[in-house]
Subunit: 470 residues, 2 copies
Amino acid sequence: MTAESGGKRRVLRAIVVGLALALWFSPVPEGIVPAAWRLFALFLSAIVSVVIGAFPILTASVLALAAAVLTGVLAPAKAYSGFANGTILLIVVAFLVARAVVKCGLGERLGQAVVSLFGRSTLGLGYSVFLVDGVIAPAFPSNTARSGVLYPLVLSVAEAAGAGPGEGQHPRLGRFLMFSGIASLTVSSALWFTAMAANPLGAEIARGHGLNIGFGTWLAASSVPTLAAMALLPLLLYKVISPEVRTTPEAPRAARRALEAMGPLRAQEKIVAATFVGMVVLWGAAATLHIDSTAIAFLGLGVLLTTGVLTLGDIAKEGDVLATFIWFAVLFTLSAELNALGFMGYLGERLAGALGGASPLVAGLILVVAYVLLHYLFVSQTAHLLALFGVFLDVGSKLGVRLAPLAFLLLFATNFFSANTPQGSSANLLFAGSGYLSQGDLYRLGALTTAFNLGVYLVVGAPWLLLLSR
Amino acid sequence: MTAESGGKRRVLRAIVVGLALALWFSPVPEGIVPAAWRLFALFLSAIVSVVIGAFPILTASVLALAAAVLTGVLAPAKAYSGFANGTILLIVVAFLVARAVVKCGLGERLGQAVVSLFGRSTLGLGYSVFLVDGVIAPAFPSNTARSGVLYPLVLSVAEAAGAGPGEGQHPRLGRFLMFSGIASLTVSSALWFTAMAANPLGAEIARGHGLNIGFGTWLAASSVPTLAAMALLPLLLYKVISPEVRTTPEAPRAARRALEAMGPLRAQEKIVAATFVGMVVLWGAAATLHIDSTAIAFLGLGVLLTTGVLTLGDIAKEGDVLATFIWFAVLFTLSAELNALGFMGYLGERLAGALGGASPLVAGLILVVAYVLLHYLFVSQTAHLLALFGVFLDVGSKLGVRLAPLAFLLLFATNFFSANTPQGSSANLLFAGSGYLSQGDLYRLGALTTAFNLGVYLVVGAPWLLLLSR
């Protein structure tokens, strides 16, 4: 780190600490209890510190938790309750389980198979990226983990098609394929309940507002607008980027060669495939059969460990999952307790007052658009969801907006606003760092993709959701 | 893996599954509820599978948890409650915090400083191993993590003294130093509440029996017998192993050279030292000031992350801690629920019946000795504690044994029985794998050390504990 960036970080940290102290010691607004106000001071400072880059999210969460407990704002048992939350444990276990798809090679095989079938043209390659991503997505609760499967595939396809970032290397072809990776993740994550870590978290928050969202209800709600976006997005990017090469007859051959080199399905791949199919079937049936989704994930993990597809050595490399577990659990708990202490309701009333007079339809529209634009301030989709989703639901509820459609639109937005900026999701980072896309490309194509998705989910999705929730 | 070991493992797994099914479908003994019996079938099978090597502890735990929830034996909220247990979270966070001591070099510096002061003779070197270990122990809740600091020190001291495992390399000198590492960990872990992961867990279980054990009460109870064992153990090993070399004038010089090469205390080492001193002071005062020990650990982690001593990259390597978190939380919960369902009490009554008629003193003696001998069957100190500690307390209670002394003796035994066998604790593995100690040495010296410790804790410890609990 340079002295300059160290100095800048010190200033940013001073700002955050100053903000926390200023809020903490400012008079408690009428209508809320002091504990709610102090917890808000800690929570907001933690979120702001992440947004402005003063602290990483783990550091900010751990410090906020310690401060909340040591100052007596939260009782220890409440403060740690997030760690035992079934939804959060589901994410943690599914992170570990997803590791097996990458490790056994099944993810790459699936990708090559799709390219061998649909990859004859540049546009077909673009669609194949979306198709592979969409098919594997329900087994990957981490869009970041999924980007780790998708990126090597996109890179090898780009290289096989002769695209490179330099002069005379068909840079627009490479740009099209690479940005298709980022754009695809926005919609594959929105399609499936289990395709992004924040989805089940959001469902958990929505449960607190009386909505019951599971694997099946999510898919029913997301299917129509998301499939529409998936069908149109590759074409839009193709028109806008206009790749130099439009036919790629060599791509299916390269994929077939790669598949031949892989040989027949190995035993480990069969085990992983069977385990995942079993898990997805059980997840789909969980609500009907009254079985616990988290226990299904634990069972899947147990099967993969028993069969030796995953080893203790594999788990030992997953310290990132522990870090995610900790900050997830902490921020989730702080947000939930803020809600339990009445703060979200208070904030909602204030915001509702500002939007007062708007019709429910206009209010809902403003809420969704504002929610998407605010993501320019966030580096984590989950942090954004944790900070704002509950409040926006509250406001919508107060203004008479139909809650189920609003909740789904905000939840889908939590997925598709990832393309706003290169840092809008860690799932973008591999593609953004590939060298095929400039910062200008990333912001321009990101804004375009987000605006297009917003349009599709409002124009196609909103009527569909209103129909479903009748 | 060879085909033979794969075949053997399949047989072992078939045995465990057979055991689980046999217990599950056998008639429920009179006096307990069916859920308790089925949970016992799952818990016992998980423990047996670890003891006989059919499944690693993580796999066994995850499968038992999934089975318990999916069969309806445990409700999801209860089954996952261990993950939010403050004591377990304390261990998880302290594992991460301990990483900083190794990383910044403070652990090695402390070790070299002790050798430079006390390392003039072979016996002095042995004592210095015990001293270093005993001093750093309260900051290391993982005796395994601590062995990772101690082992490089012991190895470099052995090499500096000219000891090697081969002919003409003073093999007995090396054997003495290496086994001192294993022996030292048995007592350093018993000395401090926070020196071994199972200690706070045991205190948590003892709390369920009405005993309140914290940092200060533990130290008061452990100090007299443990310091006696620490004072005598190096001498015993020295007499029994009889090293070829008895004076090592070069060791203090080598240590001083190493210290000079390190230069003055670096900024990171100062931060870590200050953080640890702060944490140990706060832990010591936690009960008096009514502050939460786990929040203190989170604060320490936050400080180390903020100052950059620990980075997100360091945390990313700690997947092992996540695995430990999962199996700890699961086995702890299963054991606690078994207790809550009345099973431990039932088992205690049966065992008490078998020991009926014995005087409280004789009964207490038999319980402690049996508890130690049973560790020959266990590969994990924590699993042993989780399986038997609560039951033995129950039995002792029914037979009129004074509970506080019995609890402390069993808790100290949970630490010192680690030397029984090389696999009796993962903290032994570095020393056992050093090449300086044969399997014969390990079992022979292990039995000697355990028998000696058992004697000291019974002869010196029991009267001291009876005095304290008057």
